[in-house]
Subunit: 329 residues, 2 copies
């Protein structure tokens, strides 16, 4: 019993104590650099009553991009890896795919032909792998896949190629009364299937791209069916629109890593009162990846140029983070 | 200072104590009838650890229709009253409206001609009064209007024609770890402008119909502009779709009052484990209104017939509620 109690107390400290107690480092995987100090100083300001920069708890909304901000997006978006694997898994039921692009390109592993299929090709893949089932069935398929799939370079489940410093930041913000949201260009249902377990972010605090759905009752059993039609693209200007549509309040902190996050950062930081905009710079080829202006995934170009003028702070993976991924279990 | 302390303590009791303490009645405006006992027994079950009907806090999602469930929807939807008043306010800038239906019908007070304009006419009114401004401007217009407008029969601001027993129920559920959501056929931005103040429901927990919006930057200042196009209708089957899209989890409690809530009730109560579906019956012509199958606003027909078979409980305004509206201040 005493050991159990000790474990319990230790767990309590790990979960809440780290972030709250002044004497314990709330961000142990962050180096003591200007970026870390800016975050801590912002949080201290907005949580100090009677401070001119105090923000009531209800308005402490923080939004985080997902791909490349909370988990690795190289060598390709995880959702794309999922779609490619699904095409392979579903191929026996679709013999015609062997000769039909873009499916044939996926099945023969011809990534050049796949790239040549362009947006139309990607949309065909999306529809074939993300629609035509109920939301419950889709969530189960995603969970099964995530349990088995491994990142090609790191050999870990994708849910463990998340960034340890960001997990700490999310917990630190929540311990200080922030409501943390994911705002992703990716499909919302995929992320919702693991956001609570992995990030401590409940499904209702995930904003993302949506597919059209329809409510159907079959033999008395209702279901929500995913249709082969894109409903909303939560990327670029869509991120600001999505924030207003799903959250209905302007955030005071935004953290992104690519040009797809430009408008989310702009909308967040242009508001009155204290605001913090942060951009994660992938400059760490050794521990993760180094990419920016020319990457097909997570291109960072315009936002990098405009960051100084807009007061957005660049977080360098290489210099600002002690570690990148969580310790393996 | 002592008086201030006393006020503070009293306020604390009013806000949280009433709903929590076992010895204090959590629902003082409800008569001690079967409906009240069913609610209390449901809440006790899902919050009792080790009970076979226990539901973890994260899954305690409760959804409430708005018009006719939380506030009066007679003699017409409040949003329609707003639209009609806006037409009158904007008329000087639109001399052509004097001869253009449906605006001419509104300006001459010809409700028959207005009704004859049908859905197309209502859409024209909606677009003219709800689009063409930023989301911030729209919220300010709604707030100004709500501060001045009065309910034609009760002479109160619309935000005080809310139902006292429902305010108590919302607070009681939250005190028991529920997350309370509004799921309305009405426009989401209108409700969000007062949901926190009136119901204790923050903007991000309001699901409703949406108008298309666009992110625009004018002279360096970003804004979200409301476009003359309906984006999503959160009514009937749309309520189940909206719940999945905005919340991403199936609720365990749903409270509605009309056929527009049928699918929300069905989707909620068809799930596994403990579920509670409730329908408010407007049978109190003396204190509020009596209407059901033939009402143009809040028609209750199919849901009334199917309630017994589906296990949905009817709450009678006349029999189950001690009082209807909050005491005037």
């Amino acid at each position: 019993m005493r050991a159990a109690l000790k474990t319990f107390l230790l767990a309590s400290v790990l979960v809440t104590g780290v972030a709250r107690a002044g004497s314990v480092d709330p961000l142990p995987s962050w180096n003591d650099t200007a970026a870390r100090r800016a975050i801590i100083s912002f949080v201290r300001d907005v949580t100090t009553p009677n401070s001119p920069r105090f923000v009531p708890e209800a308005e402490r909304i923080a939004v985080f991009d997902h791909d490349g901000t909370l988990w690795a997006e190289q060598p390709m978006y995880v959702q794309l890896a999922f779609a490619l694997d699904r095409v392979k898994a579903l191929a026996p039921q679709h013999p015609e795919w062997k000769t039909t692009p873009p499916f044939s390109a996926v099945l023969s592993g011809d990534l050049k032909a796949l790239a040549a299929a362009g947006e139309k090709g990607l949309l065909d893949l999306l529809v074939a792998t993300h629609a035509g089932m109920t939301t419950d069935e889709f969530a189960a398929t995603v969970s099964d896949w995530l349990a088995k799939a491994r990142h090609p370079r790191f050999g870990r489940p994708y849910t463990e190629t998340v960034y340890q410093p960001m997990l700490e930041l999310l917990a630190y913000l929540r311990a200080n009364g922030f409501k943390t949201y994911l705002v992703s260009g990716g499909g919302v249902e995929m992320i919702r299937s693991f956001s609570e377990r992995v990030y401590g972010v409940p499904p209702e605090q995930v904003v993302g791209s949506t597919i059209a759905t329809e409510y159907r009752v079959k033999e008395g059993v209702p279901a929500i069916v995913r249709l082969p039609k894109v409903d909303f693209v939560d990327d670029k200007a869509g991120k600001a629109v999505g924030i207003q549509k799903f959250i209905g309040r302007r955030p005071i902190l935004a953290f992104g890593n690519s040009d797809g996050d430009f408008q989310m950062l702009e909308w967040t930081t242009a508001g009155p009162g204290p605001r913090l905009g942060l951009i994660l710079r992938h400059d760490d080829a050794e521990r993760e990846y180094a990419y920016d202006r020319k990457s097909p995934f997570g291109r960072l170009d315009k936002a990098l140029d405009e960051a100084p003028g807009k007061g957005w702070r660049i977080v360098s993976m290489k210099d600002d983070w002690k570690s990148v991924f969580p310790a393996t279990r």
